[in-house]
Each structure stands twice: as structure tokens, then as C-alpha cells.
Amino acid sequence: MLELREITKRFGDVLANDHINIRVEPGTIHAIVGENGAGKSTAMRIAYGFYTADSGEIIVDGEPRRIETPHDAIALGIGMVHQHFMLVDTMSVAENIVLGAEPGSAASIDLRKAAQEIRALSDEFRLSVDPNALVQDLSVGQQQRVELLKALYRHARLLILDEPTAVLTPQEVEEFFAILRRMREQGKTVIIITHKLSEVLAISDDVTVMRDGRVVGRLKTAETDAAELARMMVGRDVLLRVEKPDARPGGAVLSVKGLSVTAGGERGVRDVSFDVRAGEIVGVAGVEGNGQTELIEALAGLVTPSQMGGAVELGGRDITRASARERYELGIAHVPEDRHRRGLLLDFDLAENSILGVHYRKPAVSFGPLLDLAGIRDRALEIIRDFDVRPANPDLPARALSGGNQQKLIIGREFELRPKLLLVSQPTRGVDIGAIEFIHRKLVRLRDEGCAILLVSAELEEVTSLADRLLVIYHGRIVGEVDPKRTSQEEIGLMMTGGRKGNAE
């Protein structure tokens, strides 16, 4: 169906694609895996006409083709769903889908006809999308299905999906994979770019592995396993399971008593009580949007006290109404779920980002109101060294780093505070497997140094493997506490969707 031959693409000094060859058979689901920056997206953007290759050939249905704009790709039956959705929020689903290929005449779009066709397609693939809804009112999962419809509406026979599951909850991923299988049954070809190995194994027929701009292998999915793929992706053996000794918890560091948060409207937190002790990792498992964000933000001091009820104590001291800065000074560090929104100033350099939170005191400030530039640089260099941030250049803007390296910088910055309590949310979202292993090891070491850690993650595997105790949250309530070593994922998954109560505390 699609073949890239000897494609090379250079961005300035960076060789993004180095003579790569990818062949995708019709009617299959083909996974392209690799770490961030391996060149997967670049290759696919070339196939979709977003970039033009410096050299090499694109072959569609056996014939060499020029694809210079997305328009060319669409004409050849290639559709692409981008990692960041290409949707206009303020317009309706139908308007988004027909944009650029409007039915009717130049004087009038036939939106009724469009809505009919969209409904038919939506029914055929069981997408359940309402053509008249506004995109901004849809969930992320629904928006993704609108993107699929956009490609299907343009008669795409090949769908390229760039990291499609990054934004989905585990339930949505299952539904999404079911849709992809239906598409394969109907004769469509699917290319899925991902770095999640479990997904590759679950959905694909063939895999192409990329590393550092090159294709390092092509395999039949049925004939490989996660360990082999990880080794090919990273170029060395990778520990996929977290190895950790048993926790030896001390006294309670954080005590949450009947905490309620009304911020976030429907979601929020309802009458939640738990402790986190020194030297243990308490995980919070739940489908995203069940109050995790509000819980962490309330504990970090990012929610107005008037929107909170109950009490929060740190080492026996009431901090319910303490500000974010006071909490920092008392020893609470916070690795936020959205590093671009809360964690970094993307246009500031690494040195400046490394002092956020301590920007008003040592080592950032040492003489009157003046910043201590040398001190800031030293601190940044220390974090960069200890947390293996690459490239190791404190003058680069944070924007220039990959997600994994941005995350390592944030984690390094928060760990440097030697916190008593660490609030950490989605620590490995959008992070390469090499860096995931690194971050997990660092978290376990911090625990063993006696820090109390509250961990929230949408990755069930991550919380179950890291946490010593696991709280399950559903609709803002803690519906149970389980021992992650003795409870199956299925059981936890059931509790996460409100299916059954565990042994409530």
C-alpha cells in the first residue's frame, strides 16, 4: 500500500530521517515504534505531505508518487490523525469534517448532505459521533473519532495515526483499538506511531522499529515480545519492571482528613481521608477526570481555600489554608501532571526553569534583590548531571528538550528540594521508555531516603508497580485501598470504573 524508500530528511544539523525504508502491506495494522526523536513522526509527516523529503521515494500502490502537500496525500487516499488534533474547537463536527472538501456549491455548503454521510460513516465504524455537536463540547476520545471521520470522509484507505493513545484513558484505548480492528476488517490500512510496547503487541500485525533517525528492524508482531522491541528501540537492555525492596514506612507525614474540593465542578474530590507515611509510595489509581487533578492541586496549595473542605496536615501541622509557597517551605514538592502548563516556562532556559519555586531565595538570590546567576547556573548543571538531562546545556530553552528530558529537569528540580512529601502526577506521560526506567528508579530511591510520595498516574501498570499501597479513586471518592502486589489489574480496573468496592479503609 505505502512504501517509503531511502527517505532522508534533515532539519538544520539534525538528521531526522537517514535513508529509511518502511513498507506497509494493504489491509494490515502496522506499528512504527521508537523513542521520542527517533524520526517516526517525521517519516509519517513526509508521507502525508507536511514535510518534503530531501531525497528518497514514496511509493503508493506500487507507483512512485510526489506528495508535496497534504492535499496530494488526501488525493492518494492517505489520511493522518495528528497527535495534537487538527480541529477547530468553535465549529461543529460536520463543519470540521467537510472543511476543505465541502459538499454543495461555492455559494452554499450542503451541510445536511454532509451530516447524512457523516452519520453513515459513523454508524459503519460504530464511532457514535453527532455531526451537529460543537467540537469544544466533546471529550478527547470523541474528538479523536472526529479526526478519524475526517480521514474517512475523504475516502482515506490508509490512516496514519500519530501517538493516538497518548490522550486516551485505558477504557478509551480499548474502544479505540476495537475501531481500528473494524477498519482493518473493512479493508483499510492503518499505521500507528507509538512508543508504548504493550499497544504494539495488542494491536499491530507488523512493526517497524526506529532509533536515531534510522530503521533498525522490521518484525512480525506475533514473532516478537516487549523485551526485544525495547532493546531495539533503546539500543540496550531495558528493565521493564520496577525493582524495589519492600517499603519500611515511618510515621505519617501527610494526613488528609475529610478533604473535599469543589473546584472543577462535577469532578472535584468528595470527603477523602488517607495518610502517606515517610518512606512509602502511595499510589492513586483511577480513570482520568475522577478527581485526581483536584486532589493533587489541593494538596499543592493551588486551589482557593474557599473551594475546599476538610483538613490537611503535614507532620501534625495544619496546612489546609497554607499557600503554595508556604507548602514548598514546609517540604512539599510537586511534579505536576501537565508539565507545559504548571511545570515549565517553555521559552525560558533550563537554568531559569531549574529555580522555579526557589526563585526568591538561595541559591537563586544571594545578594539583596539581585539574582545570583552563577549560583543558578551551578544548580542547573547539578540537576542536569544528576538527572541526565540531555542536551546538557543550561542555556537552551526548555522548549528545545524532548518530553522525557523536560520531565527529568522538573523531577530533578523538585528532588533537589529534599522534600518530606512529594506529590507526583503522571511522572512518565509522553516520556521514552529509557527515561521511564530512570524516573522510576529515582522515585524508589527518594522513597528509600525517607520521603513520603503520593503518586497519581493514568497508567495502571505504573501505579501498581511503583506503589506500596494503592488507593482507588472513582467520582472523587476513594472507593478502596488495595495491596498492589496481591490484587490483579482486572480487579483494580473494575474498582476504577465503580464496579465493585474493595476493602474500604
Binding site: 493522518m80 477547530v88 474547537d89 472543511l99 476543505g100
Partner: protein, 294 residues
Amino acid sequence: MNELFNLNLLFSTIRLATPLILAALGGMFSERSGVINIALEGLMLAGAFTAASITYYAGSPWVGLFAAILAGACIAMIHAVVCIRYKADQVVSGTAINILLTGAPALLSGAFFLSSGSTPQVPEQHLIPYTPIVIAFALVPLTWYVLNRTPFGLRLRAVGENPEAADAAGVSVNRMRYTAVLLSGALAGIGGAYLSIGQSSLFTRNMTSGRGFIALAALIFGKWRPVQTMLACLLFGFTEAIAIQLQGVRFGGEEIPNQFIQIIPYVLTIVVLAGFIGQSRAPRALGIPYQKER
């Protein structure tokens, strides 16, 4: 006070709102496509000067009006090239055009008519006092239709909200934006022409006196939507009409100083913008040049 609110005031409001509506609808095309257009003032001046001069020479207001449309579009083309092709700051470009057009007509009329203050009087039978009013009010539903019911409008809105999405769907972002900015120049040109050969009979220096900016305020107040923008223009036109009627009116035995009356529309502009600007959501990509990755 009763004789103040009469039919005269209504006509006066409509007349005064007309150039605002024309310029604001022009601004709407540009801004809905994502290009800020604070050059409306300059574009109106270009239209006003060209209309008066060409009508004087050609002896036909239709030729003058057509020339004003062309002049507005040509000046808008400068803004378009600077903002779209060269991705310059759109506010700076617009400001430069406004400054250029405060000076250029004086220079040109000095060269052609030996008077930098104004162009020669156009005879009364060559004035078009009503046609632009009809055009302005007819354009309101037409603009609504174009924006909401045609492929062109859909693409225009998409380009102004999320140019990447439009690009991915195969829509040429730059072509849409060029078209939109040129349209804004053409409409502002008509607005300017109405000032010089509709309401008046010659071009005088800086005769727009801020109407381009008031039109922009009306556009924001009207949330970038045609009907609401027209209503906002009528409101501004109404205050101007009131200001004219209040001139010479005695209040408690004292005549209200003219200066106080004349500032009413401008004060209202500030009040409205300060009070409503937060509630009105601009097209998301407004002011951001589109950088296509390659």
C-alpha cells in the same frame, strides 16, 4: 428634550453608522482570517481621498467609488504582504499604514490640486449620498451568509481559529488571508468614499477622525459577528448623532462646551471596550502569522 429624539436623529444615526459598518465589516473579514487590521483608519483615508479626487477628474462618482475600492485594496495589499509574506507584527504594520495615510493624501493633493488641505469641491450632482448606505446595510446579511453558509466562509473561519487544522485539511492558509485582507481594504475604501463623496463633497485632511478605530471597537464589541457589529456601529453612530444635536443646546442656562459634546463617541468607545472586551472572544489565531513547517 423631546424634539431631540425625532426622525432626524434616526436618519442621522444611520448616516453616521454607515462608514463604520463598511469599515467594520471589512475588518471582520481580515480578523476572522486571523490578521489584525488596525489599518482600517488608513484604508478609509485612502478611499476617501481617492474617491474625491477621481470623482472630481472623471466627473462620475461611480468611477470614483470604484477607484476608492481599488485604492483600499492596494493599500491593504501592503498590509497583507508585510503580515502574511513577511510575518511582521500586524499592529506595527497597521500603525505604519495609518501614519502613511495621514500624510500621503496631503502630499498628493498638494501635488495635484496645489492645496495640501483639501481636494477641490465635487459638484452636488456627482455625490452619492444614499448608495453607500444601501450597500452597507445590504452587506450585513450578505456577510453573515458568506461567513456561515459558504465554503469560503468556513475556510476563512477555520484559518482564523486554527490555521494548522485548515492546512491539514488542504486549505491554503495564506491564500485565504490575502483574500480576506484585500476584501477589508475594499470595504474600508467604500466607507472612506462615503465620507468624502457621500456625506461631504471633498476630502479634507484627516477627515475620518478616528472612525477606523471606532469601527474596530464596534467589531470587537460586536464579537466579530456581522449583526452584532452592525448594532454596535449603530450605537456609535447614535452617540455621534446625539453629540451633533446637543451642540448649542443650553443646559441650566449655560451652553454645554462643544468640546465636551464632541468627546462623547470617543468616551463611549473606551467605556465599551473596557467593559466588554473581556467577554468577547477573538478568533484564536488573531495576530499570529502562520509558519508552515517544511
